[in-house]
Amino acid sequence: MLKFTIRRLLITFPQLILLSVLVFMLGSLMPGDALSGLIDPNIPASAIEERREELGLNDPWYIQYRDWVFAMFQGDFGTSIFHQRPVMDVIGGRLMNTVWLSLFSTVLIYLLGLPLGLVSGRYNDSLLDTTITGYTYLGFATPQFIFGLVLLWIFGYNLDLFPTGGSVAPGIEPGSIDYVLSKINHLVLPSFAIALIGLVGTVQYLRSGVIETKQKDFIVLARAKGVSESSVYNRHIFRNSILPIAAFFGYEIVALLGGSIFIEMIYSYPGMGRLFLDSISTRDFSVANVLILFYGFLAIAGALLSDIILSIIDPRIRIK
């Protein structure tokens, strides 16, 4: 188990190095450099060239790459051209917003999706199951932004139960109880909009997993041992049915951390997805690059997480 995890972790190092090289090269391919936009056009070209030399921009690429990586390890991700602030400052607040949104959505997805899938699979072809399955079809067919708009219209504008935009009400002092409550209040609509659509896959996977597993011989054997029906479901069927969901868990969480662009737009929620979109439309490549690196890192971490979770649940994975 531990050996598997360590070995799996080791594999991520070459992946990370490759990723960073790719992102670095992407950055160097962009037209212009850090000086082209920053410096007053009246400054003589020779002075700019001097600055270039000073900043190491004329060094061979591997030296630049090394400096870039070292800088990142020290927390220096460069400066946003558009915002004229360090990239980390720009991303920082947005990142926390997105982390909260994805955390809420994930919890909701599994809190609602797992019981629905279990019930649906256990009593398959009952009225309850037909209703749940019907909802999942609806969920598959509904685009998330339409669903988000509908929620916004009903609960935000018509019923006026939840705020319609932003991540926190203005004018509240950060750190106070009110601040936290306001944060949560702002999270409710967007996270439900994500979760209610996002859970349909989980429900469907779990439902078919349960239906498949409950016909297996080892389930019959469990019953023949005198295992009660509730234990049959909780101990034997459940664990065997969540394998595909566990396999997706890492990716799911990463997808959410990447930010849900549509939802963030609709709810004017200041998260990563919107930042990424904005940074590209304003050609703020120093931010976009860091974000790409960040997403790539997340993808690798997600795969790692999925594999580790799966290896915890399924002993057959550990061998390889």
Binding site: K216, D217, V220, L221, A224, K225, G226, R235
Partner: protein
């Protein structure tokens, strides 16, 4: 307690096919005494396993009629929670397919300890120690290590022995063994059969042995019931059945075995196949379509099990005039089957 450990009266188990119920087990009655081995023999599709599943209450979507008494308790009318105290405890079952019968995500020892926990009051340490002891008893080398293994790490023979260890864990009074040794090597089979005998000697357990291996039947059984198309067609003490088989089906089965006498010659083939549940003609002798050379008058209209010798029951009158078909006719019939049949 009456002298019967298990009594089955008019058990009928029906399955739903395209909205209609068809009996896979049709009015079956038999009993098992303590310390007795009753073998249930027949081709797949004859209803042997469906009978076993009905006794254990393991069918989830069947309609079951009739009465099953176990130690004088009417288990056929018990709810799930009362039944759960019996199955796996006093009444246990060995399953056929070792590759699929174990939970792939659970360590071997936990699968044994689970049944010990449900039916016993041992502490966790005791359960673990006993699980290892059981693995040792079913002939698993290095049981302490196998206990920690997951099913996929074991061979088929090993897994089957684990399945057997689960079944005998709570020293059942009735052991239902559904093809317990089919997947095993002969030497292991011999070991497992010894183990079942031992269990009998120790506890006076009764055994319902379901198998298609007539050699195993001859070796193990006190009585034999031959099933065909959901019915018992012949039931007799083992010795009597092998010495003096009567029903055409029993005789055909015995003759299809490769044996010393059959060396160099064709084995007897029973024409056709066991009919599918929803395509079975349930009037008259059900075996008649597979012995078409017999005259219709040889069969009864409504075949009954009749005692033709002490404890020896045979269904239908066709056994009286039945002759195994000579070889040439056999081949011809098979060819006919090819040209005339439609699968």
């Amino acid at each position: 307690m009456s002298e019967k450990l298990l009594e089955v009266n008019s058990l009928t188990t029906s399955f739903k096919i395209k909205g209609e119920y068809f009996p896979a087990v049709d009015d079956v009655s038999f009993s098992i005494k303590p310390n007795e081995v009753l073998a249930l023999v027949g081709e797949s599709g004859s209803g042997k396993s469906a009978t076993a599943f009905s006794l254990m209450g393991l069918h989830t979507n069947a309609r079951i009629k009739g009465e099953v008494l176990f130690q004088d308790r009417k288990i056929s009318e018990m709810g799930a929670s009362r039944m759960n105290k019996i199955r796996g405890g006093d009444m246990a079952m060995i399953f056929q397919d070792p590759m699929t019968a174990l939970n792939p995500l659970m360590k071997v020892k936990l699968q044994i300890m689970e049944t010990l926990k449900i039916h016993g009051s041992r502490s966790k340490q005791e359960r673990q120690a006993y699980a290892i002891e059981l693995l040792d008893r079913v002939g698993i080398p290095r049981p302490d290590r196998v206990a920690e293994a997951f099913p996929h790490e074991l061979s088929g023979g090993m897994r089957q022995r684990v399945v057997i260890a689960v079944a005998i864990a709570n020293r059942p009074k009735l052991l239902i063994a559904d093809e317990p040794t089919t997947a095993l090597d002969v030497t292991i089979q011999a070991q497992i059969l010894d183990l079942i005998r031992e269990l009998q000697d120790d506890l006076g357990s009764g055994v319902l042995l379901i198998t298609h291996d007539l050699g195993v039947v001859a070796e193990m059984a006190d009585r034999v019931a031959v099933m065909y198309a959901g019915e018992i067609v012949e039931i007799a003490p083992a010795r009597e059945l092998f010495k003096n088989p009567q029903h055409p089906y029993t005789r055909s089965l015995l003759n299809s075995l490769p044996s010393e006498e059959m060396l160099g010659s064709r084995l007897h083939v029973i024409q056709g196949v066991v009919p599918a549940l929803n395509r079975m003609d349930r009037t008259g002798c059900r075996f008649a379509p597979r012995i078409p050379w017999m005259d219709a008058s040889a069969h009864e209209d409504n075949p009954q099990l009749r005692e033709i010798a002490d404890q020896h029951f045979v269904r239908c009158t066709c056994y009286k005039s039945f002759e195994l078909k000579p070889d040439e006719a056999d081949i011809e019939a098979e060819q006919m089957n090819v040209e005339g049949g439609n699968g």
